[in-house]
Symmetry: C2
Subunit: 199 residues, 2 copies
């Protein structure tokens, strides 16, 4: 019974935190505001979560799921090349970052305190997303061992993330939407083709 009440409080707090992260953004998240929205004492938050970081990770878990659900599927009936698949995934990442800027930024802005590592379940959720990149890479470079492929998938993601985050950064180098899309396609496509023809 106490267990059920605690679980309801957890879900209410995740919902409330999600509203903040998706709206004004992670930096606006305050325990006091959450307690007010949910109708609990500030101290009660810490009966449901060890700390606010753990709550943010639950919000980010939802963001990762939202991203996975938003990945564009390959054109049906066509045999999609691995290069085309990698370009499609990069385009999907750009579209997601543009559609959900605050949620997306929270994935990278959120910092655990010193000495705290990401929990295993969160690392596993990230890993599931990387497998979307690993699959076409396995067709592109069947010679790579699994560990190398996993590393390369992360690196391709990092490069794409750089293109997207600096390309959307209005203070530095923001590009018009169609120009940024074309650049992501150009650079990720080139990297994929270059990887296929290892020197």
């Amino acid at each position: 019974m106490a267990q059920a009440r605690r679980e309801r409080l957890r879900q209410a707090l995740i919902d409330a935190a999600e509203q903040v992260v998706a709206g004004p953004g992670l930096t606006a998240l305050r325990a006091r505001d959450l307690a007010e929205v949910v109708g609990c004492a500030v101290g009660a938050i810490y009966t449901a979560f060890p700390d606010l970081d753990s709550l943010v990770l639950e919000v980010n878990r939802r963001t990762l799921a939202l991203f996975e659900a938003s990945i564009p599927v390959e054109a049906s009936g066509l045999d999609e090349s691995p290069v085309a698949a990698l370009v499609r995934l990069a385009g999907g990442y750009l579209a997601f970052a543009r559609a959900y800027p605050s949620r997306w930024r929270a994935l990278f802005e959120h910092r655990l305190g010193p000495g705290h590592a990401l929990p295993e379940w969160y690392v596993a959720e990230q890993g599931r997303l990387f497998r979307h990149i690993e699959r076409p890479l396995a067709r592109l470079r069947p010679d790579l061992a699994e560990a190398e492929r996993r590393l390369l998938a992360r690196s391709l993601f990092s490069a794409t993330h750089g293109l997207v985050s600096l390309g959307l950064d209005e203070k530095l180098t923001a590009l018009p939407p169609s120009v940024l899309e074309a650049q992501v396609e150009l650079v990720v496509g080139a990297a994929a083709r270059g990887l296929a023809d290892a020197p």
Copy 2:
């Protein structure tokens, strides 16, 4: 005379701010602390600079110059291929970010207030750095118009920045130094080779 005094104050403030940015980092920068180090009133800072943002841009100008001076030169006596040149520049960027993490982060953490654009001189300094990438690109893809080449140079930089910033990010995906170097070389090299063989 007043002009000379103001210039001395400006330089002293840039020196003091540089120490903070290079040490504890941009987020530790406080007008009060700078005034104490320099031995002036807090208000005097604003006779030398319109705001702290302008002071930070001067520190970042020094960081850009430090980076440019640190770019590894091509092996003399050899005809370096454009692909090798682009890989060398990316490796130089990684080495710089690793050697000067706080200074490097300040280049991206610093945000001007709403409605403030980067001054022309700062944009020009950035542009000079991008020309290091544009030169090998011009040899790699002589068919590209200058505007396309400039855009692509920035995109290659953004992709490299993503590899470097996520690869050095201890909370997300930090990689051992030699592994990260190899991944930057692999992905940037592949992108350069793929760009050479436009589909």
